[in-house]
Amino acid sequence: MTEPVLELAGISKAFGPVQANKNIALRVMPGTIHGIIGENGAGKSTLMSILYGFYKADSGTIRIRGKEVQISDSQAAIGAGIGMVFQHFKLVENFTVLENVVLGAEEGRLLRPSLARARSELKALAEEYGLNIDPDAVIEEIGVGMQQRVEILKALYRKAEILILDEPTGVLTPAEADQLFRILARLREEGKTVILITHKLREIMEITDTVSVMRRGEMTATVQTSDTSPEHLAELMVGRKVLLHVDKAPAAPGKPMLEVDGLNVIDSKGVERLKGVSLTVRAGEILGIAGVAGNGQSQLLEVLGGMRAGQGVVRIDGAEIDLTGRHSNGQTRRARGIAHVPEDRQREGLIMEFFAWENIAFGYHHNATYNRGALMDNAALQADTAEKMARFDVRPPNPWLTAKNFSGGNQQKIVVAREIEQNPKVLLVGQPTRGVDIGAIEFIHKQIVALRDQGAAILLVSVELDEIMSLSDRIAVMFDGRIMGERRPEETTAQELGLLMAGINGKAA
């Protein structure tokens, strides 16, 4: 009974000089949900890629039900009973659910018999695990949560006994995540083994039986979930004590600094992205915008940041700004005191091929301090960068490294340092901690709160509900280009916000 279904011993993997996995040992018991948690770059994904045959380990053994196996490719992994649900689904968008499930597992040259066989098997699987889904629905027409179910069904159809899920809740609403957890619990009841990779402590506490912590390529601890706490796990992940809740004094809101009135945006395909959005952010407060990705938050930030045109009225410190004209761009916005930490630091906030010192001026390269006559003052830029790197603890503190050579967290610190140090009246922040490790999250949150306390108005957009709840003074929920309602974080719950995010308004806003 107590023989592990999966046992890893001494797994090591190096990419050049980087040791991604160091002597990893892991025992996963059958019929359990086993969480693997760690910061970005801790080696979780590498380990799972070894297990699924994408990489070959430099050394070490993999045993399944006590028998040593060689996993040379994903076919071998499937043969060994391992199924994988990736963070980014690997589905054919214009195929039906049934066709996607069969794809790659067709028997014989004719499709029809295997489809018929698959249909009956799919029905049986769906009943067994409570995975109800219409086999004839086309993938691009069903929601993300449903698509994830298709991925799970694909694995089960291939007789997977061990199911690995990589950051499965990143794209889901809280309600969809709850449904996923119910499905995982059902799988466990039926004797399947689930490995859940995540960086969200709440999920680990909620659903797993056992949790293993990875840090810098090593497996630092494996504990029973019931014996641990989020604080303890965070400490194991980062290697030091971490403040999980943002320490902030109550807001002291002043006069309205950012006023948005009836803002509409129609994108290039003619789709209405914002439908009459109105909101106000006062000096010295943080307004958090919650919502599932793709409900207009990005467009809101882009219009306010001068990256796209919009219709409506926007006032900064009482004065209206131009939303459509030739002079509506990022430069004029910055001149009006709007700083912008964009949602996608790699494609927007930074030029990845530029040195850190070139990036520190990005968007502010016309500022007099960075220029000397007709030329840019590179010496001043380099000195300024070194200073900001020290203040924002960017590692390594080398202005001559290109942006792509920094980790996600340090890239974000460069962007945040650049924007916050301009002492803006209004700070727009999109997904400030996406792909950022816990230590850096804590630091970035502190900086945002500090700017608030200096009297800036902050508009925060995040798909991480925890982040919205802990950082915001007020929360507005967006759904389908509209503000569904506003709540105070201390007076609301994740469940209530989750309903609003799904477009269901219980009580009047």
Binding site: G305, Q331, P342, G349, F354, A361, F362, N405
Partner: protein
């Protein structure tokens, strides 16, 4: 961090590429029954062996520096300007207009006038494709290719119908007045007492090309405009975030590029032919693409690559002249150099990177 030291990237790889190209060319020559060693001797003698040889090599190099810089500047904004040829032809019209219409008192003033006129003509010729790209999304590669043909046709029309002096059969302008003739290397070096072949075409424009290298370096790496051009070239979404206008960058960059290509005509039209003839640029616009590619879009690299191609041009001409190797074979040799230094760059880079990595591991 980076897998290779920088010197290997900028010096070693081009040298290996060049060696492989020479090897390939040698094999081709052997296959046609020629002695590759003797051929190499003829090329070196003809391209670098005398002041006359250098006079030709640097004359061609001057053309290639201007067109190479033109292509390189555009590439920094991720615009592939294949139209340097046409822009150079129009630049020639600009030079002819300036030299023939204005009674210049001295060449030093004429060269400034001709330079500005060539830049304006070349720049405006590049403006049309740039505008179409920026406002209408017409792909710049397609439009600049097309504009080469249009430029050739426009030049043909102008020479036959407008600029040809009355009573002359040849489609060419009148010779430029003597006051516009640029000093040759023999004239300039003669002042300080260094002898130089007086029948070689290298002239004052070479110094302008060197100056252009410096100014382009300053533009790309030291000015706000250069910063914006590079930012736009790396990431259009990033540029939009920073409030850099894509339309402005495309239009301004292409006009600078076209102006540089146009300025080439100060060398070949004003400095050498001293009149405007059909097909004056002789394909230098296309060589500019290879020069920019090999020179890594950096002015120093462009300068070195341009001198190399100037040498290949001149040495190749001697090859067909002295060894009766057909002119086409010389083109094959040049093509091999382009192939190895440009297209097959990655072929050498991969193994070399692995070798450096292995060496580093061995030391660690």
């Amino acid at each position: 961090m980076d897998k290779m030291p920088k010197w290997a990237d900028v010096i070693l790889i081009p040298l290996i590429s060049l060696f492989l190209a020479a090897l390939g060319a040698g094999l081709v020559l052997m296959a046609t029954g020629q002695d590759p060693i003797a051929a190499l001797g003829v090329m070196i003698e003809g391209g670098m062996g005398s002041s006359r040889a250098w006079g030709y090599t640097l004359y061609y190099a001057t053309n290639f520096i201007f067109t190479g810089l033109a292509v390189a500047v555009a590439i920094h904004a991720r615009l592939f300007n294949i139209g340097a040829e046409g822009q150079a032809l129009l630049g020639g019209v600009g030079v002819a207009v300036a030299c023939l219409q204005v009674p210049w008192p001295h060449w030093s003033l004429a060269v400034i006038g001709a330079l500005v006129s060539a830049a304006v003509f070349g720049g405006l010729w590049a403006l049309i494709p740039a505008w179409l790209q920026a406002k209408r999304g017409s792909h710049i590669v397609i439009t600049t290719i097309m504009f080469n043909f249009i430029a050739a046709a426009v030049l043909n029309y102008l020479l036959v119908e407008v600029m040809k002096p009355a009573g002359v059969m040849e489609p060419a302008t009148a010779s430029f007045p003597t006051a516009t003739h640029l000093p040759s290397f023999a004239d300039m070096l003669g002042v300080v007492g260094i002898p130089f072949a007086s029948d070689a075409p290298a002239n004052f424009a070479f110094l302008l090309a060197v100056l252009a290298c410096g100014l382009v370096w300053l533009l790309i790496w030291r000015t706000r405009l250069g910063y914006e051009i590079r930012a736009f070239g790396h990431s259009e979404t990033g540029a939009r975030y920073a409030g850099i206008s894509g339309v402005k960058i495309i239009v301004v960059t292409m006009m600078i590029s076209g102006a540089l290509a146009g300025m080439m005509s100060v060398n070949n039209v004003m400095g050498e032919a001293e009149r405007l003839v059909l097909n004056a640029s002789e394909g230098a616009g296309f060589i500019g693409i290879a020069v920019a590619l090999m020179g890594r879009n950096h002015p120093v690299g462009v300068f070195l690559a341009a001198v190399l191609f100037g040498f290949l041009y001149q040495g190749g001409a001697q090859l067909s002249f002295q060894l009766q190797i057909p002119r086409e074979m010389v083109t094959v040799i040049q093509a091999l150099v382009i192939l190895f230094t440009g297209a097959l760059d990655q072929m050498i880079r991969g193994p070399l990177e692995r070798a450096f990595l292995a060496a580093r591991k061995g030391r660690a």
